[in-house]
């Protein structure tokens, strides 16, 4: 059902609510058609073997190489004007080595027989330079060898085969649909597509060839008050980026939703400024995915917990591990959070990670209790004691990723999802019906969280007041402030599968040099009791 149809027919609409996610992307709903290679690229395999041999000859105990070609296309518009059309390709490779338990990494955009040898040797030289200060050598957890792996994103239509005119026409039509709404004044819209061909090889004999697609249509509508004293925007955060093809543009129906985005931007101008205080919150998954990302996905990164990101992304409140793993109550009994790289169309979904490991689905939170953490091969061994106590082997979850050939791979979050309510399909009406004084929040907005992931503040796209179980008028200037453990334990109910939606982002930053990860987060709508809401308006 299209979102607008749903809204028209829903009992929620009668309550004044014009927001609801589309139930989608639970496992197995897509029917993929293959694009990309079905056999490995022989030339790349030859280059990879050459580099690995050069690294070993130079003294590396272990080595791997990624050879990538990344093509992206971007089209941007504002109102009735094109503001950018670009089509970009970058190719290159990165060689990573271990010398006496110390890492080295070098990369080049010049993909030739001679250059892979030079760069492999350079990586070994660098590892030797770093070895002088070594205190604890790096060890790698065992991994299965995959000698001939091939994997492709499950897309239906290659976005690079769609003519540019069709893409521009779609954006202009969406802009026009937004501008027909009285009071909407500016529209920015864009589409972004990516195809990444990623060849991986390591000195243990794993060789994989993967083709990954991503698609992201988006728009922002801005309304300006007639006296020029106020302006308000509504971004299309209901449309998430996905690891899909052109079909994601048509299926997500930005064209159909554009008038609603415009109407809500205009409505914000006359919305009531929120009274600060404590409210019960109903968070739609179009909003909640980002709170989940910041307050669950980031603090359960093992490298962060162990201090490796302390200079930028920070550490985690989850420390020391023995006080948390298996005992820390993150939230209520019905709270289950899963890390996975297998959901079709989700941004982190792959066949193998960037160190050749086939990812596994795993429970980060099971029945409300912290159960596991995100790992690479290096990091899985740091949890040996915990896994042994659980009767499990220490193996990587397959959470290694690098944003490009030029960047070294490290631990990055997979898709991390809050599962729907386990026992029945709890509806949005049920979540709302029990609230005397609350706010329902749609779409992600402003976000900020401290470096140990305790204190966070989130805005949104639209805010509507809930009074006595009914959704009433729009509010503005809303942000809520949380302390992570209290916030999840204040969740007294979450929605069922019919409220589930997968949000996500391209630009999740971590590491130095900062790298962007692309991840999806699926979740149902949730209800949280007595959350602090502040008013963000300031008069100049």
């Amino acid at each position: 059902m299209k979102r607008r149809d749903f809204i028209r027919h829903s009992a929620v609409a009668a309550a004044g609510l014009t927001v609801f996610p589309r139930p989608e992307l639970l496992h197995g709903v897509l029917s993929p058609v293959a694009h990309g290679p079905v056999v490995q690229d022989a030339a790349r395999r030859e280059l990879a073997s050459r580099a690995l041999e050069a690294a070993r000859s130079a003294g590396a105990d272990w080595a791997d190489i990624r050879i990538n070609t990344n093509r992206n296309q971007g089209i941007s518009t504002r109102e009735r004007r094109i503001t950018g059309v670009s089509d970009n390709v970058t190719s290159g490779f990165g060689v990573r080595v271990l010398v006496d338990g110390t890492w080295g990494f070098a990369a080049s955009g010049n993909v030739t027989n001679d250059e892979v040898v030079r760069v492999a040797r350079q990586a070994v030289t660098q590892a030797r330079a770093n070895r002088a200060a070594q205190r604890e050598p790096v060890r790698l957890a065992p991994a299965d060898v995959e000698p001939n792996g091939v994997w492709r994103s499950p897309i239906r239509t290659d976005p690079f085969e769609i003519p540019i005119e069709d893409k521009v026409e779609y954006l202009f039509a969406a802009n026009e649909a937004a501008l027909t709404v009285s009071g909407s004044r500016f529209v920015n819209s864009s589409m972004f597509f990516l195809r990444e061909d990623k060849f991986y090889g390591n000195s243990e004999g794993t060789f994989t060839d993967q083709t990954i697609y991503r698609a992201y249509p988006r728009m922002t509508v801005t309304a300006v008050s007639s006296d020029g004293a106020d302006f308000q925007s509504r971004a299309s955060t209901d449309i998430a980026p996905r690891a899909l093809g052109w079909e994601h543009v048509t299926d997500s129906d930005m064209l159909g939703l554009a008038p609603m985005f415009a109407e809500e931007a205009v409505e914000k101008l006359s919305a009531r400024s929120v009274d600060p205080g404590e409210y019960d919150l109903v968070l739609l998954p179009t909003h909640l995915w980002l709170t989940l990302h910041e307050a669950i996905a980031h603090p359960t990164e093992l490298d962060r917990i162990m201090g490796f990101e302390a200079n930028y992304a920070g550490t985690s409140f989850i420390y020391p591990l023995e006080d948390y793993l298996g005992t820390f109550r993150y939230g209520p009994e019905f709270m289950n959070v899963v890390g996975e790289r297998s959901s079709p169309g989700a941004l982190s979904t792959v066949g193998w990670d960037d160190e050749g490991v086939a990812p596994r689905d795993y429970h980060i939170i099971r029945d409300g209790v912290l159960n596991d953490l995100q790992t690479t091969r290096e990091q899985a061994l740091w949890l040996e004691d915990w896994y042994r106590s659980q009767g499990r082997e220490a193996r990587s979850h397959g959470n290694s990723y690098a944003q490009s050939w030029a960047d070294v791979q490290f631990q990055r979050m997979p898709n991390i999802n809050l599962e729907p309510y386990p026992d029945r399909d709890v509806s949005l009406e049920e979540l709302i019906g029990d609230i005397d004084r609350g706010i329902i929040i749609d779409g992600d907005g402003s976000f900020s969280i401290d470096q140990q992931r305790y204190n966070a503040q989130f805005g949104g796209q639209t805010f509507r007041e809930i009074r006595n179980g009914r959704v009433e008028g729009m509010l503005k200037d809303v942000a809520y402030q949380i302390q992570t453990p209290q916030f999840w334990n204040a969740m007294d109910l979450c929605g069922g599968p019919s409220t589930y939606f997968m949000g996500g982002a391209f630009g999740d930053g971590k590491g130095q040099p900062a790298q962007s990860n692309a991840i999806s987060h699926g979740c149902p709508a949730t209800r949280h009791r007595n959350i602090t809401v502040i008013n963000t308006a300031r008069s100049v």
Binding site: A129, A133, R135, F317, V408
Partner: protein, 447 residues
């Protein structure tokens, strides 16, 4: 390997322009050598040395414009990148605001390239980091940090006869040192163009002292506080205003710099009369680039003079529409200061907070340039003119506009590491400030 020389860049642009069949063509080249080393738990963690050159072709037929980028330079790849940009341009709708390509320009004398940085090897990075890790180990602390550098060339050439080439080198070093019990954390960092100007050992010493002094912080209540802001925290805030200087957004009524009755605030006093901010490629302290992506010269620009808005950021189209000179983008900026020292600011404060730096700064309301973020890695209570003890970090919701209206004291400007991720950003030089009524909205247990 090295980045492209001027003659190599000229030859490459000549090959591309010769292939062009468009009415107008522009070629941009970026050619870089980058190196970095990270450290954690008092030893190196990961590092990288990267070599890359990218070339972007911008093609226009009349007002139809598109671009394509590659990093391969064999004849077939160059032909392909030119044809791709041309094919896209032919299919694109007309861009009525396309201004064509610039002819030859005169550029300011900007010098920001240093061989000392260009020749940096991994073993030199390792030794510079050891100056920090050794201090940390000696004090039984845990050091982490990041050293990064890039040297390279930027080049612009057009079918209208413009050719511009410049070189630049930059390095950035930051370190966060924590106590093993997790109750203390200290930070220090800066950026340079000339590697010889970087003193990692001195920065390490500052971070060590802050880590030790910040142990076991106590709660303070959120609310309006007088704050003594170290330069990094000041730069974090003023950057937010400098990124909001679009003339067009102001004229369209969707910016703090919009005037309520239409137009913008140029000519109005909007902050304290001691605030003056400028950009200047020929100012040797700022080390900014001499031209922008279109090959337009980056000229000296005074953005704020004595608290009065002097200039907004005009691109070529919006400048022509409004009868003004285009500004390019401020590639580095300098905020003038005063003669007060940090010690004098603390000594003059009856009750206030000393702030080292900010974290996770995100926009909340563009109407007032209101942002939120948190203090981090060295937050202290000042009582009766002295630092009395460390305090827990606080979340703020504040705008640089209010902050620059509430200045009490100003110190001497210094160069900072201005990006949250400690990457290689344009130069920011700012003074420490003492400011009243800075708005904190909650506290955090994060160390």
């Amino acid at each position: 390997m090295a980045f492209l020389s001027e003659s190599e860049a000229r030859e490459l642009t000549r090959r591309v322009l010769a292939l062009s069949q468009a009415d107008h063509c522009r070629v941009n080249i970026s050619s870089d050598m980058e190196g970095n080393t990270r450290f954690a738990q008092n030893q190196m963690s990961t590092s990288g040395d990267i070599q890359n050159t990218t070339l972007t072709v911008n093609s226009a037929f009349g007002l139809q414009v598109a671009s394509s980028t590659t990093n391969r330079f064999d004849d077939a790849s160059l032909e392909q990148v030119v044809r791709t940009s041309e094919a896209l341009a032919r299919l694109a709708p007309e861009d009525r605001e396309y201004m064509g390509e610039l002819g030859a320009q005169a550029y300011p004398d900007s010098r920001s390239y240093y061989e000392s940085t260009a020749n940096l090897e991994p073993d030199v990075r390792a030794r510079a980091i050891a100056e920090v890790t050794e201090q940390s180990v000696a004090e039984d602390l845990i050091s982490t940090g990041f050293l990064t550098h890039r040297s390279g060339a930027s080049c612009v050439a057009t079918s209208a006869g413009l050719f511009a080439y410049t070189t630049d080198s930059r390095a950035n070093f930051t370190t966060t040192i924590r106590t093993p019990d997790g109750t203390g954390s200290g930070w220090a960092g800066t950026s340079v163009n000339d590697w010889n100007d970087l003193r990692t050992g001195e920065l390490g010493s500052i971070a060590v002292q802050k880590a030790i002094q910040s142990r076991e912080p106590r709660d303070v209540e959120p609310g309006r506080w007088t704050v003594v802001m170290e330069p990094t925290a000041v730069g974090n805030m003023v950057n937010l205003m400098m990124n909001s200087l679009s003339a067009r957004a102001a004229d369209e009524g969707r910016s703090f710099f919009s005037s309520p009755g239409g137009g913008n605030k140029i000519g109005e006093q909007f902050v304290d009369s001691r605030v003056t901010i400028h950009s200047d490629p020929e100012d040797r302290r700022i080390h900014s680039t001499p031209f922008n992506n279109e090959g337009l010269p980056n000229r000296r620009t005074v953005w704020v003079q004595d608290g009065v808005l002097q200039e907004l950021n005009y691109d070529r189209y919006w400048a022509e529409q409004n009868g003004r000179e285009p500004t390019g983008f401020p590639s580095g900026w300098y905020m003038a200061g005063g003669s007060d020292t940090l010690e004098e600011m603390i000594a003059s404060t009856e009750r206030g907070l000393l702030l080292t730096r900010f974290w996770y700064i995100r926009g909340v309301d563009p109407r007032t340039i209101l942002f939120t973020g948190l203090t981090r890695d060295g937050t202290f209570l000042i009582e009766n003119g002295r630092i009395s003890h460390p305090v827990k970090n606080l979340r703020w919701n504040e705008t640089p506009i209010f902050m620059l209206n509430n200045i009490e004291m100003m110190g001497a400007p210094v160069r900072i590491s201005s990006g949250e991720s400690a990457g290689l950003t344009p130069t920011v030089i700012v003074p420490p400030l003492k400011v009243r009524d800075f708005a904190f909205t909650s506290t955090s247990d994060a160390i």
